[in-house]
């Protein structure tokens, strides 16, 4: 059989998401950002929301998200994406608005904007990528860095007495009455990707119903920052990140999951 006999429409099992541009991703090979971008864009496409969606890019590795997502996007100052999203959503309540933020952006410098947007119940969706490190600036300690974890600013490991505790911001915002759906997911295996996509789709569906803020954390690897090959970094994530940042729904239909 010739290869040309195989490349046929009826045999198509996968194609590049229409809503991803042809620009080469700036992420390190093995990083979870590319997959997270793809599933968000697949959902926007499948829900037919491209012409109605405004995305907010953060400061961090995903600062250039607007180069890859083929939708109208705004690049926000470090940590301020939820405030920027508030400005958009309040003036265009019928549009779909989401932020895509890393852990330094969302859980350190932007903690106030995160908590207050959640507490006001802004009808936006927050996609939160947590890799426990500042990736873009070269692997410094993040608020989410685990105890004992080595980074360029905790070179001897995170000492809780000196540097404070890793922050479970997702559990924190789930306590607030303004959040309606809060979930923690991962994208390191096909099964995890399917689950994450389901959760993110649910978040965007709830936004269409104006029920409150929806928040999906994606625990991801940073093979460059963690100084591990991609596969090993995923193993390390499963063994170290998941026990602390447990996957699954945290709040559903406005009620904390017991």
């Amino acid at each position: 059989m010739d290869i040309k006999d195989i490349i046929k429409e009826e045999n198509l099992v996968y194609s590049k998401t229409k809503l991803m541009t042809d620009n080469v991703l700036s992420y390190c090979p093995g990083c979870g950002h590319g997959t997270a971008h793809r599933i968000v864009m697949e959902i926007i496409d499948e829900m037919g929301l491209q012409s109605n969606t405004i995305g907010i890019a953060p400061v961090g590795c995903s600062v250039l998200a607007y180069d890859f997502m083929n939708i109208d996007m705004i690049q926000a100052a470090h940590g301020r994406a939820p405030a920027v999203a508030t400005g958009v959503k309040r003036t265009w309540p019928d549009k779909t608005v989401f932020t895509y933020q890393g852990d330094g952006d969302l859980a350190a410098i932007g903690t106030a904007e995160t908590i207050h947007a959640c507490n006001r119940g802004e009808n936006i969706t927050i996609i939160f990528i947590n890799n426990g490190i500042y990736g873009m600036t070269g692997g410094q300690m993040a608020p989410t860095t685990l105890e004992g974890m080595k980074t360029s600013t905790s070179p001897h490991g995170r000492d809780l007495k000196k540097m404070g505790n890793p922050l479970k911001i997702t559990e924190l915002i789930a306590q607030l009455p303004g959040t309606y759906y809060v979930s923690r997911q991962a994208v390191h295996t096909p099964a995890a990707v399917r689950k994450a996509k389901k959760a993110i789709r649910k978040a965007f569906e709830i936004q269409q119903e104006n029920k409150g803020l929806t928040f999906v954390e994606v625990v991801s690897n940073c093979n460059s920052g963690w100084k591990l090959p991609p596969v090993k970094s995923n193993q390390w994530m499963v063994e170290n990140m998941f026990p602390f940042y447990q996957l699954g729904d945290i709040k559903v239909d406005g009620e904390l999951v017991k």
Binding site: S51, D72, I74, A77, A83, V84, A85, G87, T91, W92
Partner: protein
């Protein structure tokens, strides 16, 4: 003729915004300008025009809400006072870099630091010269009456959208708090989605239809060659503002041998000093810059041949005086006078400074 009302300057900004079809106000309370958001929340503009009013959790959030809404082509207003404007500066730099229109009122109080809640003009540098990082300029309007507080909201949005640039209304606690008669214009409706499309559709992020490229609002250009190009583009815009947007007013300059330069509340005080001086036979005039950026440099230079000296009057230790000196190219002596730290100078003090520092100096 519009409706006549007795209002505080801060209230006039708020009412004028509703009537000018402003889409949103985001702010955070700070003395001496909290009446802006208090008036707006009391008036329920969401019922009058559909205008959104939201009290943010901080100045950082407020200016970034402005950034977000302005990114979508909406007319967005905010107001704050000196320490709050310091916190706005990051956002203002992003807004200028991303070329977004908006109007920001700074009702100045004395500083530095937490300072005082009394009026001051010591925010000239942070308002007129940038304040945030990078090479950018704010179109800066300086009202000297409650009437102008109202009028400059509409004017501010007109020029903000003309240049896609933030406009600052630089006022102070005196104009913000004092009550005067103000003629309010008849309300105009907010722009429809179709009008926003027509006016700002080429850049505003309102959702990407199939028939156009995506719109991106950003101030990030990692390639320095492109960043330099973007800066050249911004500079060309600022040169156009300098050519087209200079606004000022003169009093008794025809035969003047001496000149006072003053803006905002200091200009109101200097008008009285002018009357007192003329009664004593002193041939003095007054130039009131209405735009502080662009500064009325040429009108000032044109007066130089007839002048023996200039008194730059401002409620600061001397900030605008730098622009006055640059404008007159060292061809005539320029001396500063002003009380500061929340003290308002009297007309007599200004006259005394004129007599001692300029005429007798």
């Amino acid at each position: 003729m519009g409706e006549l009302k007795l209002m505080k300057g801060n209230e006039a900004i708020a009412e004028a915004a509703i009537r000018a079809g402003v889409d949103a106000y985001f702010g955070y309370p700070i003395t001496p300008q909290s009446e802006v958001i208090e008036y707006l929340t009391y008036e329920k503009p969401e019922e009058r025009t559909g205008m959104v009013v939201l009290q943010a959790e901080s100045e950082l959030a407020a200016i970034n809400m402005v950034y977000g809404a302005a990114s979508t082509g909406k007319k967005v207003l905010t107001s704050s006072s000196s320490p709050g404007i310091s916190l706005y500066q990051e956002g203002i730099s992003y807004i200028a870099g991303a070329e977004l229109p908006c109007v920001i009122a700074n009702v100045v109080r004395g500083g530095p630091g937490l300072g005082t809640i009394q009026p001051s003009q010591a925010d000239y540098f942070q308002s007129v010269k940038g304040g945030g990082h990078g090479d950018y300029r704010l179109l800066t309007l300086a009202p000297s009456s409650v009437q102008e507080m109202a009028d400059f909201v509409e004017l501010g949005f007109e020029i903000a959208f003309k240049y896609r640039n933030p406009v600052m209304i630089l006022t102070d606690g005196m104009i913000g708090q004092m009550m005067e008669k103000v003629e309010l214009k008849d309300p105009v409706p907010r722009w429809t989605d179709e009008q926003i499309q027509e006016i700002s559709g080429s850049w505003a992020t309102v959702g990407k239809p199939a028939n156009r490229e995506r719109n991106i609002v950003t101030s990030l250009y990692l390639d320095s060659a492109i960043m330099e190009q973007h800066n050249h583009h911004l500079q060309a815009k600022y040169r156009q503002m300098e050519a087209e947007e200079v606004r000022y007013e003169t009093f008794d300059t025809e035969d003047a041998e001496y000149l006072m330069v003053a803006y905002g509340s200091s200009a109101r005080i200097a008008q009285k000093s002018l009357t007192l001086a003329r009664a004593k036979g002193i041939k003095v005039g007054l130039l009131r810059p209405i735009t502080l950026y662009p500064f009325p440099a040429k009108p000032l230079l044109d007066l130089v041949p007839q002048l023996k000296g200039i008194l730059s009057v401002e409620m600061s230790a001397g900030q605008m005086i730098e622009d006055v000196r640059l404008s007159v190219e060292c061809k005539v002596p320029v001396v500063h006078f002003g009380r500061f730290g929340g003290i308002i100078h009297s007309p007599e003090e200004v006259l005394e400074a004129l007599e001692q520092k300029i005429i007798g100096g």
